[in-house]
Every structure is written in C-alpha cells, then in structure tokens.
C-alpha cells in the first residue's frame, strides 16, 4: 500500500475549516515546519483552513511554524502545556486580546491523553493536577490510599508529524529528541500526515529500528532537507 504523497501542498490539501490538528514537536525539535507552512500557504491563497484547533506542547515560537499560523489568524484554539516560550509573542498578543482560546494541560497528561486515544482508552486516572485548579470539575478517585484525577482521551482529525527515515508503507524513525509527541500523535489522529527526511521503499528501514509502524500513518511525503524550528527562530526568520 503506497502512502506516498509527492508534495507538502497536496499532503495538507484536504484539511477543512474547524479541524482539530495535532502537530508534533517540542520546543525547537521535531516540528514538521514544511507541512505547517504548506497549510499557511493554502490559507493565504484560499482563506481556508480557518478556525483550526492546534494541539502541541507549546504555542509557537518566533514567527514561523505554529506561531506563523497563529499570526496569520488561522487558529481558534490552542491545547498545550507550555504556551509561555521565550519568544511566544504571536500567541501572547492574541491570548491577551481574547482572540484565541487556550486549554492548558499538564505535559504528561497531554501525552497520555493523546496516547489513550491512539490506544482506544477513553479515560484514565493520573495523580497529576490533583488538588490544583487544573483538576476543577474532574472526577477523582482513591487508589491504594492516594488520590487520582480522571482525564479523558484527546482526539484529532489530523496529525502533522515529522520523522527522519520513512518508507512508502508509513514506517518511521525519528531523529534524537525530535521524537517527543510525534509517535503518539501518529496513533491518535483520524488521519496522520508525515514528513520524513529520507523516504525509501519497504524494507529500506530495518524492522527492528521502526519506531512508528506504518499502520499509524496515512500519508507520507519526503522533505529531504527539512528546516529546523530552533534554527529559524534564532536566525529571526519570519514566515
């Protein structure tokens, strides 16, 4: 089953207005910059997709990637753990002006909610956030003398993720700490779109090295020399 898509523009062409989109990456590593920028290009050319809900650990940094999506006005809501990055002006301005919604989720709970959806588990209990304002209104229960908070799975229509090696049936590897949320989001979304630095035939990746099995990936596009978010932020690039 060949899942190859030839361009990033085609890869993101069907994402509709109002979609809930998981985007991989943590800080400056593992972000699918080319897929994000292709989505921004489409929005600038057609006005769509708009009113997007983005799920990521952060809320964009600098003036590229998710920050550029926010700046462009495509994003209705962010679901993240740490919007307050070193250069998060794009999000901060819209948030303080009441122009973007925020659902703040502790980082480990965010990861587990995403994993739970991928694993078909609608809810789970975690000690995280018990007794804090982030647990208000959520059911709690005691297990072995300790209190836990019930959290529910987090769904998405699409996931945009970045890998290192990929093959045409969707198997993937990741580069160093660029792995982060990418394998979880691949499992959780209805449709997962991946960009990889090297795309090969089935068999080009040693099966023992596969991190994300192809069953979790729906479309894969080669971006042979991907841009690195942190480098773009540090060099002041504006998209």
């Amino acid at each position: 089953m060949d899942k190859t898509i030839s361009t990033v523009a085609e890869a993101v062409a069907e994402i509709p207005d109002g979609a809930q989109v998981m985007i991989g990456g943590f800080g400056g590593s593992g972000a699918p910059i080319e897929l994000i920028h292709a989505l921004i290009d489409r929005f600038r050319a057609t006005g769509s997709p708009k009113n997007i809900t983005v799920i990521n650990n952060n809320a964009g940094n600098g003036y590229i990637g998710i920050a550029a999506m926010i700046k462009a006005g495509m994003v209705k809501k962010m679901i993240c753990s740490f919007p307050r990055s070193s250069n998060a002006e794009a999000f901060n301005e819209k948030f303080l002006a009441g122009e973007i919604e925020l659902e703040l989720v502790p980082q480990g709970t965010l990861a587990e909610r995403i994993r739970a959806r991928g694993a078909g588990i609608p809810a789970f209990y975690t000690p995280t956030s018990f007794g804090t304002e982030l647990a208000e209104g959520k059911p709690t229960e005691e297990f072995d003398g300790k209190m836990y908070v019930r959290e529910s799975w987090l769904k998405a229509d699409y996931a945009l993720i970045k890998g290192q090696m990929g093959d045409t049936v969707g198997n993937m590897t990741y580069r160093m700490a660029g792995r982060n949320f990418n394998p979880l989001m691949a499992m959780a979304a209805t449709k997962t779109i991946a960009q990889v630095s090297e795309l090969g035939a089935p068999g080009s990746i040693d099966p023992q090295q596969v991190i994300t099995p192809g069953i979790f990936v729906d479309a894969i596009v080669e971006v042979s020399e991907p841009q690195q978010e942190e480098v773009l932020v540090r060099t002041g690039v504006v998209y």
Partner: protein, 230 residues
C-alpha cells in the same frame, strides 16, 4: 540581634545548587527542573554515577555542547542544547512521563514560589493575569520518589516563601519532602517544617522571623557550610 543582612548574606543560587547536589545519591535517576535547578548537575560530586532525565524524551544527557556545536534536535525540556553520555536513550513523551508518574525516578528538584508546611508546592503561576504555562511540573511532583525544592528563603520583596498555607495556585498537594533555601535546609515531615541546617551566622530567631510557618527541630541543627568561591 546579630548584624545578619538577609539579602547580602544569603547563599547564591550556585551555592544552594551545590548544597542540593551533595544529597544526590550514587546510581540515582534524577530530573532537574528548568532554570535554577538545572545548575545542580554542575556540582555533582566526583565519583557519583547519576543519570539525568528530561521530559522531552532523553535519559542520560550530559553537559551543554560548546557554542557552535549545538544540534537543535538534541535539547532538554528547557529547550537548551545538550550532549549525550554513553548509555543514553531516546523515547517518546508517553514513555518519558511513564518514567515520571510510574515512580521510576529517584529524585526531582524544582523551583518554587511558595512551599507550605504540609508539602504543598506552588510554582507555576502567581495569579490569574498573563499567560499561564504549566509544562511538566504537575507531573513531576507526583512521580519521583523524592521531590526537593531549591529556592531563595524569601521573595525579592522580603516575603516568606515557606508558609503555613500556599496562597498562589498549587502545583501539587503534599509533595515536597526537602527544601534547600538560601538560609537553611528544611525537611517536611508530618505536616511540619523540620530545620536540619542553617547558616551559622543567622540566629534561630532571625531565621524564624523570615519564615512564614513554625520551624521545628528534631535533634541537632547543623551548620550549613558551602564553598565561598562559587
């Protein structure tokens, strides 16, 4: 009263970090919170084998690389460039927080806005204004076998950070077991602050006056001695 001046005579962050580092046990797995707690790794005593965990999926990272040698796919939770020690591993975020919540870490050291005498910690926001951000702190306080805090003893305005009850939004309930401050080392046991060490030049009365809850003792209070040249 002695002529102790808290803002001039208290320990620097490096000295607090040095003291905290002395208690990190050989063979332990440790997560250091972003910012000030990260400094503790620099003072790890010779001969101790410590494996550092970072939330974004790296176990066994080492020192920062030389300037110009950074690979920005190799970072810690503070988004700083790191290097790998032999035996390091990468994993995704769900595995990373399984290490945290599953009780596999021996120690987490975090910063604080306030610590209450029952071990409650407030370290993620000071009010309802601005942009909130929580990151991994709420997970870390419930994960590690021991949760310690490094902090100045009082705020820049002189307000106690060790209090009877936190007034800032909580990060976790009853989670902190040891506090390393700029004046003292204090354990939290049975809902009380137990003073273990204090700077020799500050009196008990002076220390109590800048602490927002009663300091108890349980045996000797040792002198808090740190290198002066940090």
């Amino acid at each position: 009263m002695s002529d102790f001046n808290i803002l001039e005579d208290q320990l620097s962050n490096a000295q607090i970090a040095w003291r905290a580092a002395q208690d990190i046990e050989d063979g332990s797995y440790v997560n250091l919170g972003i910012g000030f707690p990260e400094m503790i790794a620099k003072f790890q005593p010779e001969g101790r084998d410590v494996t550092y965990h970072t939330e974004n999926g790296v176990l066994g990272f080492g020192k920062a690389p030389a300037e110009g040698e950074e690979d920005w796919d190799l970072i810690n939770a503070g988004k700083k460039a790191i290097t790998l020690n032999p035996g390091a591993s990468f994993f995704h975020h769900a595995d990373s927080f399984s290490m945290v919540r599953g009780g596999h870490l021996d120690l987490a050291v975090l910063g604080a806005y306030q610590i209450a005498q029952n071990g409650d910690l407030a370290n993620w926001r000071v009010g309802s204004k601005g942009v909130p951000a929580v990151g991994g702190a709420m997970d870390l306080v419930h994960g590690a076998k021991r949760v310690a805090v490094v902090t100045d003893h009082v705020t820049k305005k002189g307000q106690p950070k060790l209090v009877e009850t936190c007034t800032f939004p909580l990060t976790g309930v009853g989670c902190v077991t040891r506090v390393y401050t700029s004046l003292a080392v204090i354990d939290i046991e049975g809902g009380k602050f137990i003073l273990r060490e204090k700077l020799p030049q500050i009196s008990m009365e002076e220390l109590q006056a800048v602490t927002g809850a009663t300091l108890h003792t349980d045996g000797d209070v040792l002198d808090l001695i740190v290198p002066q040249d940090l």
